[in-house]
């Protein structure tokens, strides 16, 4: 596990924050999967969760709030040999980044998308996130949230996402199992990860998650889309596990014409001077 650890760093999270668990499980999974730090890119937006890439020794692209998926998609498209993992927050992914969430699922790039879902905006000190539950009181939502909470799993199923899972960081083993499956899955793999924000979410605590979740049974078939939808809209208790797997489909990169007959990453290709000359020539008439 050593090689993903940073030397001396001052982690900016609060003691007890669920992000520590996600960080550790993720590093362990990466070691288990024998991924080289050099071949890995961690991508995030902005938020507490989005700081994760700073705490793992690998390549990283820590971009703008809400904008993790577009660069991640492009990185994968430019160099499909890289393993690209997005680790970001619920506000980042479903709030500011909602449009990219929808359309990245449609594109199906080979990304692992770990959403640290603490049902709150941590970094900006406690406003509601799209996944905050009804009645959740915050400094901005003084009478409690009344907007229908965003259900990422149901939306992902509606978009026919290729891999849709939910875990909760109170269950480290399940989390590691699902991270590993998601990373190994080809195509867009969402792991919505329940995690406590000890500073700003006093409702959805570690214990609350423990008490309000259950793991889907072995008999559950994530390949049935209608069943998956039913499962996805279940709440209290919330199902954990792989909720949906779409019928196999090509990833975004595989669909790109540029890789149809040639697997070389773009960086290894040069300008097609002869063809360009011919193209210019063709403009003489």
């Amino acid at each position: 596990m050593m090689h993903f650890d940073m030397e001396k760093i001052d982690i900016a999270w609060c003691p007890g924050c669920g992000n520590f668990g996600i960080l550790n499980v993720l590093k362990r999974t990466l070691v288990d999967l024998k991924i080289r730090p050099q071949d890995l890119v961690l991508v995030s937006g902005i938020g507490q969760a989005a700081k994760t890439p700073h705490y793992i020794k690998a390549n990283f692209f820590n971009g703008l709030h809400g904008r993790a998926l577009p660069p991640a998609t492009a990185i994968k498209a430019v160099n499909p040999e890289l393993k690209v993992i997005v680790t970001s927050g619920d506000g980042d992914m479903y709030g500011e980044g909602g449009n990219h969430f929808i359309h990245a699922i449609r594109r199906n790039p080979d990304l692992t998308v770990i959403v640290h879902n603490n049902m709150v905006y941590g970094l900006t000190k406690g406003q509601a996130s799209p996944t905050s539950q009804l009645g959740f009181v915050t400094p901005l939502q003084v009478d409690g949230v009344f907007e229908e909470p965003f259900n990422p799993l149901a939306v992902a199923v509606a978009l026919n996402a290729s891999f849709v899972a939910r875990t909760s960081i109170h269950d480290l083993a399940l989390t590691q199992k699902l991270f590993a499956q998601a990373i190994q899955h080809k195509g867009f793999a969402l792991v919505d990860t329940f995690t406590p924000c000890v500073s700003f979410n006093k409702v959805n605590t570690r214990q609350w998650y423990q008490e309000h979740t259950y793991i889907v049974g072995d008999d559950y078939d994530p390949q049935d889309r209608n069943e998956a939808f039913k499962k996805a809209v279940e709440a209290e208790p919330w199902p954990l596990g792989v909720i949906y797997k779409s019928p196999a489909k090509a990833s975004f990169e595989e669909n790109l014409p540029v890789y149809k007959n040639n697997k070389q990453p773009l960086i290894d290709r040069r300008v097609q001077w002869e063809k360009l000359e011919a193209l210019i020539e063709s403009k003489k008439i």
Partner: protein, 569 residues
């Protein structure tokens, strides 16, 4: 006024509703004219709709290369009657208006040609446009063989019948033109023909797209927006040949963030858009500044604010381009004036972005991207456009401090090192920091690159006689129009500076301005944004500003007139 057909060539306008086929005539006609040895120039103005309305294409045919639109119309082919009021201000006493009386009704002063009826006689109304084509070709004394040969090759894949019918239709029009010419009803001055079969004809969008490909562009991510869309469309059409990743993003925000991700991973990438889309990208521009990530942005301007006039032209987004993005970081802005420079600038943009690790904005406009003329084939030598990417070592630090502020750029997966990119203030290893001394060093590092850029970019140069006392400044697509107007003025005391390097401005600009007795700025906007920039950068205030902002490009004649007035003042 001195503008004679002899000097300026012949100005032909094809006009009608969207969907009536003026584009077909245009495409055939300009090719035939070029093949026949004329210098041809064409530009279009059109409405933001798919059918109906009134669109027009202005074509100049001349003995010498031309790169600017005329106001005056010598020959107007009117496909519907709305055209006449639409173009009223360009029609003179000498304008010859050709139209089908069936369509136009009894308009006085029109040369009636029963195009539809003639076409029906050929068995298909569709041929009316080909007849018009033949007619114009004839009026311009095009070699009939050249015309027929081109039509044959053009329609070859449609079958022999189509070829034969088109040739017949064109012939009908051509013959009619001789009647008109011989009757003396229509007489154009003679235009000399040249051998220039080695020249190409492409529009601004195509020139920029080809320049990008020559610049090593491998990836274009954009959201459709007129007039920026032409570049990505061209690249989509040729993506197989050039190994391009072409992706229509869900919005402009995704587009720019994808482009940054693509550069990070080692590709050369660009986006193309217009003002509204660029406005949405400004947070991404700021990110490029912070990440020191190269990126090329084609911003094709149209009149704003907001949706404005989507299919018209303006230079109203200069200040937006200059200051887009929060915080402070260097950028480069280039505004090509011609097809040659559209190609060259677009190519160069990738090298500059890569070299200085800054966003480079290519600032064009609807007029430039939709205009074409014959021009020398784009030169591809030298062929080197290797990305300046280093193989990383274990010690690699993305934001290593260097004397000129430029840190060696590594990419993930190439070397033993790790490559970070961080939108927060960061340390040399790209990790988030709140060390405020480091903050200052990083700001200085980023801004230091601008000094280097200023040193290395070329001087502006001045065009004119050594006795100049007046300087006329313009930028981008307006330059060639000013150039022709200045040539028309034909005065020793007037010189021109044609800016294509918008930011940083050429270092020698100030020295010229200081020496001038009179300075005039010409821009396609209402507030003289370039004038403001020059004032800010040099302290110089222009005596005269010639500004146009009705959505149309300047014409040679109006500029001549405007400049004369300034020179009198």
């Amino acid at each position: 006024m001195t503008h004679s057909p002899e000097a300026l060539g012949i100005s032909i306008v094809l006009a009608g509703e969207a969907g009536q086929g003026i584009q077909t005539i245009e495409q055939l006609l300009t090719k035939i004219l070029k093949l026949d040895g004329y210098h041809v120039y064409a530009t279009k103005e059109y409405m933001s709709r798919v059918r109906g309305g009134t669109n027009s294409i202005s074509i100049r045919v001349a003995s010498k290369p031309v790169q600017a639109p005329l106001q005056r119309i010598d020959l107007l082919v009117a496909l519907d009657e709305k055209v006449l009021s639409h173009l009223q201000y360009r029609i003179t006493e000498e304008t010859i208006i050709v139209g089908d009386p069936e369509v136009l009704g009894a308009v006085p002063g029109i040369l009636p040609v029963p195009l539809r009826q003639m076409a029906s006689e050929l068995g298909n109304e569709m041929y009316a446009n080909t007849i018009a084509l033949g007619l114009i070709s004839g009026l311009l004394a095009v070699d009939a063989q050249v015309m027929e040969k081109y039509l044959s090759s053009r329609f070859a894949d449609k079958g022999d019948d189509v070829v034969a019918n088109n040739i017949k239709a064109a012939g009908l029009g051509y013959d009619r033109s001789w009647t008109l010419r011989e009757s003396g009803e229509v007489r154009f001055s003679e235009i000399r023909k040249h051998e220039h079969s080695n020249e190409i004809m492409v529009n601004g969008s195509e020139a920029i797209a080809m320049g990008a490909i020559a610049g090593g562009c491998q990836c274009i991510t954009s959201y459709p927006m007129t007039p920026g869309t032409g570049v990505i469309t061209f690249m989509a059409q040729h993506q197989h040949d050039f190994n391009l990743v072409v992706e229509q993003a869900e919005d402009e925000i995704a587009a720019i963030n994808m482009a940054l991700g693509a550069w990070y991973a080692g590709a050369r990438a660009m986006v193309t858009t217009s003002g509204g889309g660029f406005a949405l990208m400004t947070e991404g521009v700021s990110l490029a500044g912070m990440l020191e990530m190269p990126v090329v942005i084609h911003l094709a301007q149209r009149p704003g604010p907001a949706t404005g006039l989507p299919t018209r032209t303006e230079q109203g987004d200069l200040e937006l381009a200059l200051y887009a993005g929060h915080g402070e970081f260097p950028r480069i802005i280039l505004a090509p004036e011609s097809l040659q420079s559209a190609f060259a600038v677009s190519r160069q943009a990738f090298d500059l972005a890569d070299r200085y690790q800054v966003p480079v904005i290519i600032l064009s406009d609807q007029y430039l991207v939709d205009t074409y003329y014959n021009t020398a084939a784009f030169a591809l030598d030298p062929r080197e456009t290797l990305p300046s990417i280093v193989e990383t070592t274990e010690e690699y630090q993305r934001y290593q401090f260097t004397p000129d502020g430029i840190s060696p750029r590594g990419i993930p997966g190439r070397g033993l090192g790790l490559v970070g990119a961080d939108s927060d203030e960061h340390d040399e290893a790209a990790h988030i920091t709140e060390d405020l001394d480091l903050r200052v060093k990083m700001v200085d590092k980023r801004l230091r690159k601008l000094g280097r850029i200023k040193e290395e970019l070329p001087a502006a140069g001045l065009e004119g006689h050594k006795d100049w006392r007046t300087i006329i400044i313009s930028w981008g697509s307006v330059n060639p129009i000013v150039r022709e107007a200045v040539a028309e003025l034909n005065r020793n005391d007037v010189a021109q500076i044609a800016i294509q390097q918008v930011y940083p401005l050429p270092a020698d600009l100030h020295q010229y301005l200081k020496k001038a007795d009179r300075t005039i700025i010409v821009e396609s906007n209402a507030t003289s944004q370039m004038g403001n920039l020059i004032l800010r950068e040099t302290g110089h205030t222009f005596q005269h500003a010639i500004l146009k902002y009705n959505g149309l490009p300047f014409t040679v004649e109006e500029l001549v007139e405007n400049l004369r007035q300034c020179l009198l003042a």
